[in-house]
Symmetry: C2
Subunit: 193 residues, 2 copies
DNA sequence: TGTACATCAGTGAACGCGCGTTCACTGATGTAC
DNA sequence: TGTACATCAGTGAACGCGCGTTCACTGATGTAC
């Protein structure tokens, strides 16, 4: 059947959104196209009207996820009192909620180790997304020059992502909270300079 | 054919060693049992005389990999001048060689995001390995109590692992080296206190 | 205004492949007698 | 000392399943005349 003009774009966006969630919670190998489409009450065949391959979708979903995480962090930061921006950023990223909510959380923390193994083209897309995110975050980090702030933001961000991943792999809830707790202090003092 | 007494243990050890390398460089999904066994000039059927499942092997290979990384770091630290232990540890972990050598490098950096998605039993094995490693590393970290040193070691280690992962996902070599460079300074000043 | 045709998002069967796991079998050596 | 049997690491065919991708088809709506 023929669909109204913007229908296709709308479906495409729905696919990316669902994928962003599925990839984060199950990983690339664990997220099947057919399941994804079924979530949207569609069948798998139609997928290829929107994307050339699963790989392409992964790259795009990664970008969307990181964008959303950035939005959420920025929202938290905007609410912070003057001078407390960095603390708000760190607290938001290393919050228990973020740790528990993999599906809506940072795609870097959820997918880093996989990203490094993807084909070069895909890695380039990830890097664009990453660079964009880090540039946004750099606004809240101290440093003499913009480059210095971006550098620091990369370190802060990649470090926190690593710690968040470890926390997620930890079974014991108390231990998990303790790591997050201490990490918040650690990164605040490390990046606060 | 019947094999000499210690033959079985020896084969088993070879499998774990090969697996540790393969899992790190290709990820769990990318490392097939048959390929692994072929590397050792064996056939896939024999695998199940040694392990109950691929999952079991992954857990054990992860442990071995982390043990080896620990050994290498300790070796580097032992060569350091008195007072320079922490710097030596950080420099070794965030070295260009470690970054380039995924197959022999830190399994946490190579597999974190996958670990969090494995069944609980597997995660427990990972945590034992991790706890053991972190306890070893704690010896070189400052802190009033042993617990404080262990906590700091976790943060240092998970942060560096995250940064290493990000560096590995980075295509541009200069950018990659720059991140490692700055990370060495960042973590030294962050954990040196 | 009505009719024939084109379009194209979505359908669902089918293809092909990789892979974890199972299983009947092999055959050199150890053990029982 | 010689013989029959047991053992068990390793073999390789086969099973079963999941999944990415392809493809002929559908059918409501838009367009040309």
């Amino acid at each position: 059947m023929r669909y109204p003009a913007e229908h296709k774009q709308h479906t495409r966006a729905r696919i990316v959104r669902a994928a962003a969630r599925r990839f984060r919670s199950r990983g690339s190998a664990g997220a099947a196209i057919a399941d994804l489409m079924r979530d949207l009450h569609l069948t798998h065949g139609g997928f290829y009207r929107h994307f050339r391959s699963k790989e392409d979708l992964l790259a795009e979903a990664f970008g969307l996820g990181l964008q959303e995480v950035g939005d959420r962090v920025v929202a938290a930061v905007e609410q912070a009192p003057r001078g407390g921006e960095l603390k708000a950023l760190i607290d938001a990223y290393l919050s228990v909620e973020h740790c528990e909510n993999v599906a809506q959380g940072c795609p870097v923390a959820a997918l880093v180790s996989e990203v490094a193994r993807r084909p070069r083209a895909a890695r380039e897309a990830f890097q664009r997304a990453l660079r964009n995110h880090v540039t946004r975050m750099a606004a809240y980090v101290s440093g003499a020059t913009p480059e210095e702030r971006v550098s620091k933001a990369i370190l802060l961000f990649s470090g926190m992502a690593g710690t968040l991943s470890i926390a997620r792999a930890t079974n014991d809830e108390r231990e998990r909270r303790r790591v997050l707790d201490e990490a918040r202090r650690f990164y605040l003092s490390a990046a606060g300079v």
